[in-house]
């Protein structure tokens, strides 16, 4: 690891390891029963043993998450751009979208099962509903924050409205859009699991429920660990795409930071 990476990832890694050790020691020395709180090593062991059973469940959840998130991305970008496109749409859509966020998704999920059955569709929709809002807001705000001077400059070159959108507003909005995508993606896996709780025969959420009913606390923890790992993995992927697409943005921000300290 390079020194910069070490400085960045070192502290959280060290703290995480310390907490795990503490947990392991506590379960060992305080004699806590397994069904109440298994030790990290026991969880690891249980996970390894259950890997064959869990595979299809995990795969199912991954599918729901990815498809649902793709849907959220599509809807979020479309709605964000529509809001930006016309004042009328902004005034009409924005309050409704905010209102939609006050209805708990967990209350809508059963309805989706009633309408669309027990297949993958209702779960995909739950993921979409959970993730789309931050993307809408960040897209609309990003497009709106374009520099009026740059727009004026482009107009003096004879640019049309679509030129301005393509050359100034869209690229300028990307950093903001990615912020929304990152907020959305962190909710996505949890969204899929909520969708599964309402009615499903496969998925991490189902596995979690069954483990709870069987008092297999170690399996519950395994599911939690996998949920977290999936979320972090997806977040990391988005981060990677962002770094590739927006290299200029991070480089210019670093220069600004330098200018501040120097």
């Amino acid at each position: 690891m390079s020194p910069r990476r070490l400085r960045r990832f070192g502290p959280p890694l060290a703290l995480g390891m310390a907490l795990l050790l503490l947990w392991q020691a506590a379960t060992l020395y305080l004699n806590i029963q397994d069904w109440l709180l298994p030790s990290p090593l026991q969880i690891l062991q249980a996970g390894w043993q259950a890997r064959g059973v869990m595979g299809p469940h995990v795969w199912q959840t991954i599918q729901e998450t990815v498809i649902g998130f793709a849907l959220a991305l599509l809807a979020g970008l479309t709605l964000g751009m529509s809001i930006d496109y016309s004042h009328w749409l902004r005034r009409a859509l924005y309050p409704l979208l905010v209102l939609s966020q006050t209805v708990p998704v967990i209350a809508i999920a059963p309805l989706l099962v009633i309408w669309f059955g027990y297949g993958i569709l209702p779960k995909v929709l739950v993921v979409g509903l959970v993730c789309f809002f931050p993307i809408v807001v960040s897209t609309a705000d990003g497009l709106r924050s374009a520099d009026p001077d740059q727009i004026a400059l482009l107009r003096t070159m004879g640019a049309s409205r679509s030129d301005v959108f393509r050359l100034i507003r869209l690229p300028g909005a990307l950093p903001s859009v990615f912020t929304g995508i990152k907020v959305g993606i962190t909710y996505s896996v949890v969204g899929a699991i909520m969708g599964e709780w309402v009615g499903s025969s496969r998925g991490l959420g189902v596995f979690m429920l069954r483990a709870t009913n069987a008092f297999r606390t170690d399996w519950v923890f395994v599911s939690i660990a996998i949920t977290a790992a999936l979320s972090v993995l997806l977040f990391g992927l988005v981060n990677l795409v962002e770094r590739i697409l927006l290299g200029w943005y991070y480089a210019s921000r670093r220069t600004e930071e330098w200018a501040e300290v120097s």
Partner: protein, 256 residues
Amino acid sequence: MTQQALISVRNVSKAFSVEGRLVQAVDNVSLQAREREFVALIGPSGCGKSTLLNLIAGLMEPDQGEIALRGDRQTERLGRIGYMPQRDGLLPWRRLLENVTLGPEVMRRDLPAVREQALALLPLFGLQGFERSYPHELSGGMRQRAALLRTLLCEQEVVLLDEPFGALDALTRRTMRDWLLGIWERFQRTMLLVTHDVDEALLLSDRIYVLTPRPGRVALEIDVPLPRPRHEGLLNDPLFASSRESILTALREHDG
């Protein structure tokens, strides 16, 4: 050489409503720029210089008066008049070469040819070897030169420069001023320069308009009596000194 005005501004006024109050930014201003002429506008800050350039560029329309391009009042000015804004306006996500060819890209001209042309001009603009740099990697002077190259590559009939060196330190400013002189002599484009540096205006231009503080009116119009080609040595010329004196007097008379 034709003496018809390329740009003529006649009795133009423009007011803004700021929090319900009407602020007169430009008041009954008339000015002209002939073909291949270098014209400077001098005035204190807030006197409506940028507003005047925005009007000429066609970004906004005057409340009163008229602006004609080659004698035509009806013509669409947007797209025909080059504008270098007060801040460089370089796009942070584009590399230098893509930034300076933005105009031709918008105008859907032959991009590979324009790129060739831009690359060939980079040394003259002190930007050789930086074609793949992002704006934040460039110094203030380099950014301004890139912005000017971007404006010139649009190949429009007139170029408006809004305090192009305003944000630079005094030393860089002087270097850039002498450099701009060379650029103008080479490109021979009609230019309208906004500045509040009297020496800069005198050294560069054929004609100078001095504007009053808000609302902006023309206080003085002066033909610069210095021969071309110009060079820094003219700063000590008696003709230079007397012109400078009359401009400073005009500025002082209308002060506050």
